[in-house]
């Protein structure tokens, strides 16, 4: 029987999240039919994008039409609906994005299935069911094999490159009929639709101890705008109450994998480094030439961030020669 692979498609606003395209690419294998499971009822709108990357079947979990807003469904009901669809379509392998919501949903599916789960993978060898991921605060790379009739994989955002592989795609409307409960949704905040999640950002500029207070983060915000990136923070800045916890990069914050990570006034303790070490390019701006990040960066400038960052913002805005 043809092997099938399901991909839990995360959408943002009206579109498939860009980070999903790398996941779909990684899930492609010979003779496998890809099913993209969509929870916003807008499978018709997503079909062409998904088909361009090899997804033959786009499945609306809640049926076609408006459907329910995925953010308004309780996470347990969503997981049960996903499992019901997987069982109906006889799919035993699930891929997803290891975003915060993705990690929750994938773990629920794996738990309901009692199947092995690999979250936050850095590489996937589908033919042999082998993945790699970090362990021990990001200091080691572990190679695992998933054995069992069913497998669940969550891929670290931004790590897997996207490559088109156009196929014809059709939309299937599956009507999930799982009962609600026991979790009950009391209220929902969707967040700013234009806000890029830290874990999915391409460019991040982050501030640490040297920032001094919350208002000073405006300096980084201006630079982020010039870069087209987002602002992050180290644990010190969060613990000091300068910025919200959602901005924290690091072991007990968010793990990020941007093309460019600019660390301003961050010493680079192990716990912070664990959260950003897979960035493609790391820039360190610090007054202390012996700060760990100065050895752990690609490019470093020893100096006062309040002098350097505004100069950087200005240089970025100047027309390039």
């Amino acid at each position: 029987m043809t092997q099938k692979i399901a991909i839990l498609i995360e959408t943002k606003g009206a579109r498939v999240k860009p980070a999903m395209l790398g996941v779909i690419t990684a899930a492609r294998a010979q003779d496998h039919v890809l099913y993209g499971l969509v929870a916003d009822g807008a499978g018709e709108n997503h079909r062409d994008t998904l088909a361009r990357f090899g997804v033959e079947k786009t499945v609306n979990l809640w049926g076609g039409g408006a459907g329910q807003k995925p953010g308004e469904v309780a996470p347990d009901a969503l997981a049960r609906a996903v499992v019901q669809a997987l069982d109906h379509f006889q799919i035993d392998i699930v891929f997803g994005l290891a975003s915060t919501k993705g990690k929750d949903l994938l773990a629920r599916v794996a738990a309901l299935w009692d199947a092995p789960l690999a979250l936050d993978c850095l590489s996937v060898d589908l033919d042999n069911d082998i993945i790699t991921k970090t362990q021990y605060s990001g200091k080691t790379i572990a190679t695992f094999r998933l054995s069992g009739a069913r497998r669940v994989l969550g891929l670290r955002p931004k790590v897997f490159p996207a490559a088109a592989a156009p196929t014809s795609g059709e939309v299937l409307n599956w009507r999930s009929d799982v009962p609600a409960g026991p979790l009950e949704v009391l209220s929902v905040e969707s967040g700013d639709p234009d806000d890029v999640a830290l874990s999915e950002a391409d460019i991040i500029i982050a501030g640490g101890r040297a920032m001094g207070n919350g208002e000073n983060f405006q300096v980084l915000k201006a630079c982020a705008r010039a870069l087209g990136g987002v602002v992050g923070a180290s644990r010190v800045a969060v613990d000091s109450g300068w910025v919200p916890h959602t901005m924290q990069v690091g072991q007990t914050g968010t793990t990020v994998c941007p093309k460019l990570y600019i660390a301003c006034g961050i010493s680079g303790a192990v716990q912070h480094f664990a959260g950003m070490k897979t960035a493609e390019v790391i820039v360190a701006i610090n007054q202390d030439p012996d700060a760990p990040l100065m050895q752990g960066c690609d490019y470093g400038i020893v100096g006062n961030l309040f002098e350097i960052v505004p100069l950087l913002t200005k240089a970025l805005k100047a027309p390039s020669e």
Binding site: S147, I282, I308
Partner: protein
């Protein structure tokens, strides 16, 4: 109320990790209570303040040394400990089943707290498996929590500011986020008192676990190697910044 909190004995994130035989790490380094589990213990102990006649039991699956982590939880205010003794590291599927079996054997839980992930295995899954085995509702990445009678109101965080507020009936499993609370620092009297609190030990082999339907098998462990250019840009701030922008555009090609 009967509250269980699952804690894990993990390497200090500041410790140097040395790999032996391509699969195990040298364990003669500092181990401590998993950071997210501190938030879980704190959440459990705060429930005691709300309701008298509440017992908090700290549970761990670990080798002999894991007793230290139980003592840390006891010093934070847990009443007694439950140590499932194992000679080897176990994966999440076994861990969840062991915790469930030990808790079931011990009593009837109203709330089970865990941390949202262990910093060594980075699995992010044990709380979900534990809940599935016990057939309990679970919410993880919880950043706010309050209790009204036989239900909790919790907030859990998604990405980019997305939040859901949920009502969770008891009994349930809750995975604590770092933002949930600020864990207390035990005082010296707390630590001394903790030495006298009871820890019951049960062998993993003595628990009836059933058989998980699959395995995540560790094949290899390697150090993560860092190979950064570490190019420090010299000159005045203006010169250094201009050079940085040039390098980012032309050499690294990231902007």
């Amino acid at each position: 109320m009967s509250i269980y909190v699952c804690v894990k004995h993990v390497p200090d994130s500041a410790a140097t990790i040395t790999i032996r035989d391509g699969r195990q790490i040298d364990e003669t380094i500092t181990f401590l209570l998993n950071p997210y589990d501190e938030n879980a213990v704190e959440a459990a102990v705060r429930q005691k303040a709300q309701e008298t006649d509440t017992e908090v039991v700290a549970v761990t699956l670990g080798k002999a040394g894991a007793e230290n982590t139980l003592r840390s939880a006891l010093a934070m205010g847990a009443d007694r400990g439950l140590h499932i003794l194992t000679a080897e590291r176990q994966d999440s599927m076994v861990t969840a089943r062991a915790l469930a079996a030990a808790i079931r054997q011990d009593g009837v839980a109203d709330i089970i707290f865990t941390g949202k992930a262990a910093i060594d295995s980075e699995g992010w899954e044990t709380q979900y498996r534990l809940a599935a085995v016990l057939d309990l509702p679970v919410v993880s990445n919880v950043t706010e929590l309050s209790r009204e009678g036989q239900a909790l109101t919790v907030v859990w965080e998604g990405d980019a500011g997305a939040l859901q507020t949920l009502k969770v009936p008891l009994p349930c499993v809750i995975g604590a986020s770092k933002a949930l609370n600020r864990p207390r620092y035990p005082t010296l009297p707390d630590i001394i008192k903790a030495r006298k609190k009871k820890i019951r030990t049960v062998d993993l082999a003595a628990l009836d676990l059933g058989r998980p339907a699959g395995v995540l098998e560790l094949l290899d462990l390697q150090p993560a190697v860092e190979n950064r250019r570490a190019k420090i840009l010299a000159g005045s701030p203006e010169v250094a910044v201009d050079e940085l922008v040039r390098l980012l555009r032309e050499e690294a090609k990231v902007i």
